[in-house]
């Protein structure tokens, strides 16, 4: 047997249940892997003492015959955007220096209640604003995959540390957040499975807010089955979040394993972009063919306003961010930079506490919400959002799921796409529409580009129909049979 950190979540669950190894042994291998991978910079804070304690608690529980569900004793990594009692929560920002919450986010508490073992808090783009994990105050994260000439690549973003923890076999599962693609795009760039649930499926309480009408927590894992197990542990109604949906959490794992007979898969024609690499188009066609082979009916569909989702997002998300980030004033927690007056203290604190990308977005948001521009920008964007949602609703009268590429490119070198903010924003062109409409979406590794880098395909489903999404993703995963490994794990 290899190291226990190489196991999938389902394999680890079965091994724990069979008594092949303890949660303490599994956790120790994951801690060793975490420490060995420090050059990837995936973690902002390692919490091995918390992990060992929770693993021991899990083993004791199992010994008493009171083992919980699939996640009991499973080591996971937590994006440093979820508040964790007694552990630094930074949002990868200088402005939250030293912030140690006295409360736990609902999603991470649900995982504690399910018996999961937190290994540490992972790196991310500052306040989750970015598509390459290059805006963190704590430095860039390296993709475990490398470029054709051995160059370092970005892992995608914003959940760059959480995706890397799973892609480098540090742990079998991790959690991130997805406001415009921050789980699905990095999953595609690192060759793992990442999903964003329906808006309202996971509570947002205790998660550092970026854009409240778009933010959703979701899991990373190396298989669709593991991803389903993670979501089941995270989701559920929470009275502390008024947008949390008061509906039961299904057994997501039970949805997978079958064929796709009776399922209709829509192929939206507007997801073909000028200049998109040929292998992405070819992989997308191949994905549709794989799904047809296992019984799905493939149907071309049209979502005419797709191209307007991204510009509308870059009004709505900065507007909400400028409001949410107004709370960082240097008074109650985090960084304070003194000034002669209270206004100067605010300006100095926020001027030095926020990085360049956060400053840009807060200022765009401030501008589009300011007197005289509100109707021209913000109201217009929210009208476009209504049109986008209506188009999805119409298409979902005819199809069960949609199949699209996840991202318009594979992982790129650290330092690329830096000259023009808009070039970076285009990384989320295929993922943003699901956020704008609140829909669940999942990225499944499906193939390699001509440089040998992973590419994902995305399945988008109807609201609160993650079961059908997982069913389709699982069939796609089996057909794609993606077994390539990153250089970090001895592949490439």
């Amino acid at each position: 047997m290899g190291k226990l950190n190489d196991l999938t979540l389902a394999e680890a669950r079965d091994g724990l249940a069979a008594g092949d190894f303890s949660a303490a042994e599994l956790t120790e291998d994951c801690i060793t892997a975490m420490e060995a991978a420090r050059n990837l910079n995936a973690f902002i804070t390692e919490t091995p003492e918390i992990a060992r304690k929770r693993a021991a608690t899990s083993d004791a529980r199992r010994a008493r015959g009171e083992a919980l569900g699939a996640l009991d004793g499973i080591p996971i990594a937590v994006k440093d955007l979820f508040c964790t009692t007694g552990t630094l929560t930074s949002a990868a920002s200088h402005i939250l220096d030293g912030f140690t919450p006295t409360y736990e986010s609902t999603v991470s508490q649900n995982l504690i209640n399910a018996g999961a073992v937190m290994l540490g808090k992972t790196n991310l783009d500052e306040f989750a604003m970015g598509s390459a994990n290059i805006t963190s105050y704590y430095g860039n994260v390296k993709n475990p995959w490398v470029g054709p000439n051995g160059e370092d690549l970005v892992p995608g973003g914003s959940s760059g540390g959480s995706v890397t923890a799973v892609a480098a076999n540090i742990c079998p599962g991790s959690i991130g957040t997805d406001t415009g693609g921050s789980i699905r795009q990095p999953a595609s760039l690192c060759g793992v499975v990442g999903m964003k649930p329906t808006y309202g499926r996971c509570s947002r309480w205790g998660t550092v807010a970026f854009a409240s009408s778009l933010d959703q927590a979701g899991p990373f894992a190396r298989t669709v089955r593991d991803n389903a197990l993670m979501l089941e542990g995270m989701a559920g109604h929470d009275p502390k979040d008024s947008t949390s949906a008061p509906i039961d959490v299904p057994n997501f794992e039970a949805a997978i394993g079958g064929d796709l007979k009776g399922l209709t898969v829509g192929i939206p024609e507007e997801y073909t972009l000028d200049g998109m690499p040929e292998e992405i188009q070819a992989l997308w066609d191949q994905g549709a063919a794989w799904m047809r082979e296992v019984g799905a009916e493939i149907k071309p569909v049209s979502l005419p306003h797709t191209k307007y989702a991204l510009p509308a997002y870059y009004i709505v998300a900065p507007a909400e961010a400028s409001s949410n980030l107004a709370r960082y004033d240097g008074v109650r927690y985090g960084l304070r930079v003194e000034g002669a007056t209270l206004d100067e203290m605010y300006e100095n604190t926020r001027g030095s506490g926020f990085g360049a990308e956060v400053r840009r977005r807060v200022m765009i948001g401030t501008y589009v919400l300011s007197a005289g521009y509100y109707d021209a920008y913000y109201v217009k964007a929210q009208q476009v959002r209504t049109i986008i949602l209506n188009e999805f609703n119409t298409v979902f009268e005819d199809v069960d799921v949609l199949l699209t590429p996840t991202a318009p490119n594979a992982a790129f070198p650290i330092g690329a796409k830096m000259d023009d903010p808009v070039a970076m924003y285009l990384n989320d062109v295929f993922t943003v529409p699901a956020n704008m409409a609140g829909l669940p979406g999942i990225s499944v590794p499906a193939g390699l580009d001509k440089s040998g880098l992973p590419l994902g395909l995305q399945v988008v489903a109807k609201p609160f129909d993650e079961e059908t999404m997982f069913r389709a993703a699982d069939a796609l995963e089996r057909a794609a049979n993606f077994t390539a490994k990153p250089r970090y794990l001895g592949g490439q």
């Binding site: 307007y308 510009p311 008074v331 985090g334 300006e347 926020r350 217009k380 964007a381 949602l389």
Partner: protein, 95 residues
């Protein structure tokens, strides 16, 4: 619509973010490139379309008006950069 140095200075003040004079020009260029790009929304006919207020088709939930939390002064103040007794301390606001 194109932003100049003075516009950027005004927006920065509204956002309470200190921007050095030397940064105003490059920041104006960056913001103009983003705003110029989002202005393609002008091509979309939105006559009579309701602006979205929520993606979820659900009513605002109601709950009993009961106190379920509180008396956690020390927890609330635990991260304060500066405090005096049970209060946050800030620079003098009034003369």
């Amino acid at each position: 619509m194109s932003l100049d140095r003075d516009d950027v200075r005004k927006i920065a003040f509204l956002a309470r973010i200190k921007i050095e004079d030397a940064e105003l020009e490059p920041l104006a260029d960056e913001l103009n490139s983003i705003i110029g790009w989002v202005e393609q929304l002008g091509e979309v006919n939105t006559d009579g379309v309701q602006p979205m207020t929520s993606v979820a088709e659900m009513l605002t939930p109601q709950r009993p008006d009961q106190v379920t939390d509180g008396n956690v002064t020390q927890k609330v103040l635990a991260n304060a950069p500066d405090r005096v007794k049970d209060f946050y301390a800030v620079p003098k606001v009034l003369d």
